[in-house]
């Protein structure tokens, strides 16, 4: 494209951590959910792994907290073009849940679903091997409700609409099944480094 007349952009230093088309939101953490923020107490929260698993499992808040703790420290990227560096989320690696439920050999994809009914699809490979977490703390404090508290999924390698807030479960499938935003024009995978924002990207 052509240069925009008179546009210099903000002063910036080269940042190799910034995917194409993103900017550094610094201290901002915009809230981007299309639904009413649910009033969900930790005692009401459960997390289920079902579908193509050897053993369907549901964890309560206390049961999930009894699993080995794991934290993510790094960057997150939203399709609306902000990125946030050096954030810290604490919870449990999704591997810990999947290891207990044991996905069957046919499982290739997953739908993550929220207590609100929000859904998003993910290749199973993006959820395993230390790539995804169920988290309840942000920066050593309880995760705020508007950011998905009491607990949310985070999949930091993908745009953040994949990191379902108010996570209720992961259903394993043998095929890809578009979720809420994916049915509304967004890319099925959402890799920020390949700038997979919309269907057709």
């Amino acid at each position: 494209m052509n240069v925009t007349r008179g546009f210099a952009g903000r002063p910036r230093v080269r940042n190799d951590g910034l995917p194409p088309g993103q900017y550094d939101a610094r201290d901002d953490w915009p809230v981007l959910s299309a639904e009413v923020t649910p009033d969900l107490a930790p005692a009401q929260w459960t997390f289920t792994v079902d579908g193509l698993v050897a053993e369907e499992r549901t964890w309560t808040w206390d049961e999930a907290h009894a699993l080995p703790p794991s934290a993510y420290e790094g960057d997150i990227h939203c399709v609306t073009s902000w990125s946030k560096f050096g954030v810290r989320f604490a919870g449990v690696s999704l591997d810990a849940f999947l290891d207990l439920a044991r996905p069957t050999a046919e499982a290739t994809h997953a739908v993550a679903y929220s207590h609100t009914g929000y859904t998003t699809n993910l290749p199973l490979a993006d959820l395993t091997g230390g790539r995804a977490w169920i988290v309840w703390e942000y920066g050593d404090r309880p995760l705020p409700a508007e950011h998905g508290g009491p607990a949310r999924l985070i999949v930091p390698r993908l745009y953040f609409w994949k990191s379902a807030k108010w996570i209720a479960g992961i259903r394993l499938l043998d095929h890809d099944e578009p979720g809420f935003w994916e049915q509304n024009g967004y890319h099925h995978r959402g890799n920020p480094w390949e700038e997979q924002r919309y269907s057709g990207d």
């Binding site: 052509n2 008179g6 809230v31 902000w82 479960g169 919309y198 990207d201």
Partner: protein, 259 residues
């Protein structure tokens, strides 16, 4: 709660949803993925902090009220800035779209628009994007917005007017004061304006309250409203909570938050 399945073999659908109302339209993948050249043709001041920017976009494939687009600017060193903006204009504006942008302190894109841009300048955009917040004009719509959150809602009001639609439509709009009310001269009987800091003489100062929402819900059409809420996150939380408390079903509230 989503239902659980006990079958480990034949799970073919995502869980049933309470909230995830379907998108209102099929979104064109090609339009969403293709960058187009847009030429700025007109700038209209709306308030001391907001202006409307009109673009000629010859290849525009059309949109529905409530949809947004992505716009990008490029610096000489190749740096690109891109942002999502709601579309302010109605669909029946062939080959043109309008955006109304606040001048944000330190905003690199809004700053360029408000201090540098002039008619004849070219930018790139892609869209329309997302069918979720779209309103085709088919169902009764209750619109609640604050500040520049009124922009996608105004596209709906303009569409309603341009097409002489008879489906009920109400707009509840909040602004700091009369001078900050975007599109002030265009509102009609469908609109209630609420002022949070200063109001015209005889009008109370206050924020959108339970009484406003209760009145609109009581006055609702048979079968109720589709609610569309747009504004800052704080406003969206407040307004959507009022709607839920007043009995509006959660799955008939669509929210667009400005981060």
């Amino acid at each position: 709660m989503p239902p659980t399945t006990s079958s480990a073999t034949a799970s073919t659908t995502a869980p049933a949803t309470r909230f995830a109302v379907p998108g209102r339209i099929a979104v064109s993948n090609r339009a969403a993925a293709t960058w187009q050249c847009a030429t700025l043709t007109e700038i209209r001041r709306e308030t001391p902090h907001a202006a409307t920017f009109r673009f000629a976009v010859p290849e525009w494939t059309g949109h529905l009220p409530g949809q947004h687009l992505m716009l990008r600017l490029r610096a000489e060193d190749g740096y690109v800035a891109q942002r999502h903006y709601s579309i302010a204009s109605p669909p029946d504006d062939d080959g043109h779209v309008e955006l109304t942008l606040d001048h944000i302190d330190g905003g690199e894109v809004s700053g360029w628009f408000h201090t540098v841009a002039k008619p004849g300048d070219e930018v790139e955009l892609r869209g329309p994007l997302s069918g979720f917040f779209a309103w085709p004009g088919d169902r009764p719509a209750l619109l609640i917005g604050a500040g520049s959150g009124v922009v996608p809602l105004m596209s709906m009001v303009r569409h309603h007017r341009a097409r002489n639609l008879t489906v009920p439509l109400r707009l509840l709009v909040s602004a700091r004061g009369p001078e900050e009310l975007i599109y002030a001269s265009e509102y009609g009987a469908e609109t209630t304006a609420v002022f949070t800091r200063s109001a015209p003489e005889g009008v109370a100062v206050g924020r959108v309250a339970a009484a406003h929402v209760a009145r609109l819900l009581a006055d609702g059409p048979e079968g109720g409203w589709e609610a569309y809420v747009c504004g800052s996150n704080g406003f969206a939380e407040h307004a959507s909570r009022l709607l839920v408390d007043a009995g509006q079903p959660v799955d008939r509230i669509r929210i667009e938050r400005f981060g």
